[in-house]
Symmetry: C3
C-alpha cells in the first residue's frame, strides 16, 4: 500500500472550466509505473473561489451553459452580499465554490481512473481575472 | 490493507432518487467477510446526468420535494441553455449533477458504514427517460 | 498503513457555520504522533439537515453572506414543499444539505492537512434550533 502526492499548479484565464483530466492521468501513470495499481485518487483544490467538477467532455457548449447557469443563479454584484471589498465577483465566487466542491475522490482500478465515457475532470475558476490555482493529487492504494 | 472494487449496475425508471444503501451494504459485507474492516468506501457515479446523494430514509415526501426543488431551480427547456440537441432535460440534468456530486466517501468502522440513523444513499437520476447507470464501489482499508 | 477513526460531537447554536478546523487538526496531530503521516482524512457528517463546507477563514461576513444566499435560494416555509411536519425549516435544511455535501476528503502530507492559506473547515447547521451533531473523522495512510 502506497501514499503519494503531487501539487498541480495551473494558470487560469478567468471565469470558466479548465480541463485537467490529462494532467491528472499523466501524474497517475507516473505513479502507477505499469504495475497493477488499485486504490483511490483524491483531488483537493486549495482555494475558496475555484472548485472541482466532473462534467461532460464532448460538447464545449455544456461548459458554457454551466457557467451561464451559475452566473444567473449567483449574479456578480448581487445586493444581497455585504462581503464586497474584494470585488463584485468575489462573494459570488465563494457561493459557486460552496455549490460545487473542492474535493473529488475517484477509484483507480488496474492503474486507470474509473471515469465514465463522457466524463472529464475540470477546475472551475469562479473569479473574472486569471489566477494561479493549486490542486493537490493524492494516490492511496496498491 | 486491502483495495477492492465492484461496479454496481442499475436500471432507473426516469427522474428521481433510487435507494442503493442495501446494495452497497451487501457488497461491503461480502468484502468485509466477518473481519474487523476499518477504512473508507468510495462511491463514484460514471455519468454526467445522474449523481449521488445522502438523504433522509424515512419520509418519501422528502425525496419528492428534493426533485421538485431541482425542477424549479433548473427548469427543463430553460431558454438560457444552448446545448439542447439531446433534449430539453439534458442540460438541466448536467446542472443538477454539478449542484450535487458524483462521488461519496463514507468511513467504514468495524465492517459497517458510519451512516447516521436517518441517512440513506441514493442514485439521483436526472433524465426523464429510464437509463442504465453504473456506480463504482471501492473499499480501501484493513 | 493505518486506519483510525474518531467521532467529533458538536453542539450547534442554530443555523450557521461552525468552524471545526482546530478540532480536526488536533485529532489528526494525536493520530500522526510526530511521524511522517501521508494519506487522506475523510470527514463524514451523519445528518441530513447539516453539512460540511470548506470556506474562507478570514472575513466572518463571508459566512453570513453564504447563509443569506442559501436562505434566499431555499426559503423557509416555501409553498413548494409538502414535507412540512417537522417545521418550516426542515425541508429547506434537507435541500441545503443536498446542495452542499456531507463528506470531505482532504489529503494529508507529512502529518498536515493540505488546506490552502484561506481555507477552513465548517459544519453548516441548517436548522434554526440548536442541535447536537456528529462528524466521523477517518484517517487512512502511513
Amino acid at each position: 500500500m502506497r501514499s503519494m502526492s503531487h501539487t498541480l499548479s495551473l494558470q487560469t484565464s478567468g471565469r470558466g472550466l479548465v480541463p485537467i483530466t490529462d494532467a491528472v492521468q499523466d501524474w497517475l501513470a507516473s505513479v502507477a509505473r505499469g504495475r497493477g495499481a488499485n486504490g483511490v485518487l483524491t483531488l483537493f483544490c486549495r482555494h475558496t473561489s475555484a472548485s472541482l467538477l466532473v462534467q461532460e467532455n464532448a460538447d464545449p457548449e455544456v461548459l458554457a451553459d454551466l457557467d451561464r447557469f451559475f452566473g444567473r443563479l449567483v449574479p456578480d454584484g448581487d445586493a444581497l452580499f455585504r462581503h464586497t471589498a474584494e470585488g463584485a465577483d468575489d462573494m459570488p465566487a465563494h457561493v459557486r465554490t460552496a455549490l460545487t466542491q473542492v474535493h473529488l475522490s475517484i477509484p483507480v482500478v488496474e492503474g486507470k481512473l474509473t471515469l465514465g465515457t463522457w466524463q472529464a475532470i475540470y477546475l472551475f475558476e469562479h473569479r473574472r481575472r486569471p489566477h494561479r490555482r493549486e490542486v493537490v493529487l493524492q494516490y492511496l492504494g496498491t
